[in-house]
């Protein structure tokens, strides 16, 4: 705490801590007046308190609060939540693009490393559109431990200080899983589509009621078809992965649409996580390829090679549906096994705290139910 110091000395104080403590700490400076501007700018995180001494500090700061006591909430609750959200978003975003690129690398082993992409060019471009929504919702809404629990157990902040989310262990886990997922997605969709697997299932399977004079419509062992199947499985696996890595799945309240009070509008009740994963990701992908395939009907263009691809991939081959449904599940099996193993043998601090929180919540609910039952019984006795 500094007082009776000139602005320059305040800044120097922060500088002293920043550059002379090993390892270099993350510094935070908080002040409310114009004389604090120097130190606010010097520190990593500068917080200005808006109020009696004007808005100079607020203008120069990274965060502005109106009362000093809000600092606790800002750093402990929101800073901590933000750390987990940011880490998850960063790790997942790298993972998502690594999986797509990695599948293409594996494919090139059989394409003489000519650089042939495995997927249609517009599917590649669309990855971050169809797979972007779920992780954005995680970044907005993910809550690792509730406000009350964190206030009661502020020691959970230690994990944040020690950068628990981006350690060698965490990065190894994400890299290993990325590689496992790439291999799962590639080999489990390509191997069954080779040679006999890519053959038409004419007169049977999904072709049963199709035009009996055209068995060729069920042929699906070509490069574009199999690439599309793998891409579909990948979109679904990436959606599952977001659900798995989120610590809170926002299910909102049903019904979400309500026409009553302003404070309880549907914005407060929406099941954001599920909407992000189902409608804004997977359903969006299917709608996208259903529309994209129609452009080929307008005539030759750079977009025409995809003509009717979604129809063929999704409505003429039963094997594709088996793959699209099961291969993402196979990918997640490895995820789950990894995590359970690490939870059983080397649990992280945050994991233990989450379990304690869940246990306390359960016990609280049981007490409430018992209290209610007790109240009902006494009421009945009185009657």
């Amino acid at each position: 705490i500094a007082c009776r110091v000139s602005p320059k000395q305040k800044a120097e104080l922060v500088n002293l801590v920043r550059h002379n403590v090993k390892p270099e700490p993350i510094t935070l400076a908080i002040g409310d007046g114009a004389n604090d501007v120097g130190m606010i700018q010097e520190a990593h995180v500068g917080i200005g308190i808006s109020g009696k001494e004007g808005t100079q500090a607020v203008n120069a700061s990274d965060f502005a609060i109106s009362q000093f006591r809000f600092l606790e909430s800002l750093v402990l609750i929101h800073g901590r939540w933000d750390f987990f959200r940011l880490s998850t978003v960063v790790l997942y975003s790298f993972y998502k693009n690594a999986v797509q690129a990695g599948i293409m690398v594996i494919f090139n082993f059989t394409a003489l490393f000519s650089g042939q992409p495995f997927f249609d060019q517009w599917l590649i471009a669309s990855l971050n559109f169809v797979c972007g929504a779920p992780i954005i919702f995680t970044g907005l809404f993910d809550r690792c431990l509730s406000k009350d629990y964190v206030r009661a157990h502020p020691e959970v902040y230690k994990a944040t200080r020690e950068n628990e989310m981006i350690t060698v262990r965490t990065l190894t886990r994400w890299c290993t899983l990325a590689i496992i997922h790439m291999c799962t997605l590639y080999f489990f969709t390509v191997a069954p589509s080779r040679n006999g697997g890519g053959m038409t299932s004419a007169f049977g399977g999904l072709m049963r009621n199709e035009d009996d004079s055209r068995p060729g419509d069920g042929e699906g062992g070509d490069w574009k078809s199999v690439g599309t199947v793998t891409f579909t499985a990948m979109v679904i696996l990436l959606a599952y992965k977001v659900l798995y890595e989120s610590r809170s799945l926002v299910h909102g309240r049903w019904p979400a649409i309500t026409f009553s009070k302003a404070n309880d509008s549907f914005v407060n009740r929406l099941a954001y996580t599920w909407i992000g994963v189902t409608w804004l990701s997977v359903a969006f992908y299917f709608i996208f390829i259903a529309a994209y395939q129609l452009i080929g009907r307008l005539g030759a263009s750079s977009l025409s090679p995809f003509a009717d691809m979604a129809n063929h991939v999704l409505s003429t081959r039963s094997m594709n549906w088996m793959l699209i449904f099961f291969v993402p599940i196979f990918g997640m099996v490895f995820d789950v096994v990894f995590k359970v193993f690490s939870n059983m043998f080397y649990p992280t601090q945050t994991q233990i705290h989450m379990e304690i929180e869940a246990m306390e919540k359960r016990e609280r609910k049981q007490k409430e139910r018992a209290a209610k039952r007790g109240a009902v019984e006494t009421a009945q006795e009185e009657v």
Binding site: S66, S114, A191, A202, G204, R269, H312, I352, M354, E355
Partner: protein, 384 residues
């Protein structure tokens, strides 16, 4: 005045706090959410459940493969010694060598009986190969080829001073062996007929492949009959009329004197009336995924009894020795998933076994040395 008193004076009533954020779920970040923790019991049960579903599914899929009757014969190879089959043509392009292959199914075959040709070591999935086509030409555009397309088709844009239409590697490495079913009777004693229609995607035929703009054809009129005079005049570009069955046709291709069209490159397979819309060609243009691939050639819509003799006359034109590849002909039936697939079933039961193994391991650990949930002894507060 103490600081506490000052604080009390500073704080406004809630009704006067104009900047106070809304007290609803969105702004206060309490939209109802579920916070799952990984309960080991749930995971163990789920793994066993999944394993129990996957393992029998895998074996059932495997058993479906046994219903598929597949007959395969490799008839040319890069180290193939020309033997009694006499199908190997070495490096003799367009040799036209005819040979006969006999097949005897080891089980009854139910329709559709599909005939494929299989090539090995042919990288249709190489980037330069995949790009080497002009989709505008294939859809009927004549002339006015854009530089992008010309670069992609290089060097197969011209052959001598004739423009190639269609240009590019894919179109001009078209598999031009011919298979003809010469002998075979079905279960009812009717002669077997192999159909070469219905082998390509209908959507390809409808939307992606068209004869060149300006192409037309008609039957030769009675005045000229089936002679060369049928093609007289600037209106028709043929030199002699084209005979199909018992009819004669005359046709017009734009710029035919400076362009080599597909029917001129592969006269034995592509008729001038269909050009790029020939189904064999469309099947070939859909590039395969891996260097060993099979493409549909024809199909038979009649049942075949076990032991029936099927004779195919193969006209060998396609050279595979240059790229150390091989050619095979495959006759097969299918099941609800496709043809014989040796990887599909094992994927399921191996993952199933993995699930069961992991479930067992975790169950044993949880029973004998459980890591209790919410075990505070794992928490440590001092830095290491």
């Amino acid at each position: 005045a103490t600081s506490e008193q000052m604080d009390d004076e500073d704080i406004l009533d809630i009704s006067e706090q104009t900047n106070r954020p809304l007290d609803d779920a969105i702004h206060q970040q309490r939209v109802q959410a579920w916070h799952p923790i990984l309960d080991p019991v749930w995971v163990i049960v789920s793994l066993f459940y999944l394993g129990v579903i996957l393992v029998p599914t895998g074996y059932k899929i495997d058993s479906l493969q046994e219903d598929v009757v597949e007959l395969k014969r490799t008839y040319d190879d890069y180290h193939f010694e020309i033997d009694e089959l006499d199908c190997g043509i070495g490096e003799e392009y367009n040799a036209g060598r005819k040979c006969t292959l006999d097949f005897y199914p080891n089980a009854d075959m139910s329709p559709p009986v599909l005939i494929y040709y299989e090539l090995t070591n042919f990288h249709q999935n190489h980037r330069s190969y995949v790009q080497s086509r002009d989709d505008f030409q294939l859809d009927g555009k004549v002339g006015g080829q854009e530089k992008v397309q010309r670069d992609r088709c290089d060097p197969l844009n011209k052959l001598g001073n004739m423009t190639l239409n269609p240009c590019g590697m894919i179109a001009n490495t078209f598999f031009n062996d011919i298979f003809k079913l010469t002998e075979g009777v079905d279960a009812n004693g009717v002669d077997l007929v192999m159909s070469e229609e219905g082998i390509a995607w209908q959507s390809d035929i409808d939307w992606l492949f068209s004869q060149p703009n300006g192409f037309k054809y008609e039957e030769c009129p009675e005045t000229t009959g089936c002679t060369e005079s049928c093609c007289d005049g600037d209106e028709w570009s043929c030199s002699t009329p084209y005979e199909e069955g018992d009819k004669c046709y005359r046709f017009y291709y734009p710029e035919d004197d400076t362009t080599q069209y597909l029917y001129e490159t592969y006269p034995d397979i592509i008729s001038p009336l269909e050009g790029v819309t020939n189904e064999h060609f469309i099947v070939w243009m859909r590039v395969a995924l891996q260097p060993t691939f099979r493409k549909l050639y024809g199909w038979i819509d009649q049942p075949i009894k076990k032991g029936t003799k099927l004779s195919f006359e193969v006209t060998a034109n396609y050279v595979v020795t240059r790229f150390n590849g091989s050619k095979s002909i495959i006759i097969t039936t299918n099941n609800i998933f496709g043809g014989r697939n040796i990887y599909f079933g094992p994927i399921f039961y191996w993952v199933g076994y993995f699930c069961l193994a992991a479930g067992t391991f975790f169950a044993l650990k949880h029973i004998f040395r459980p890591r209790r949930l919410a075990d505070r002894s794992y928490l440590h507060f001092k830095s290491d």
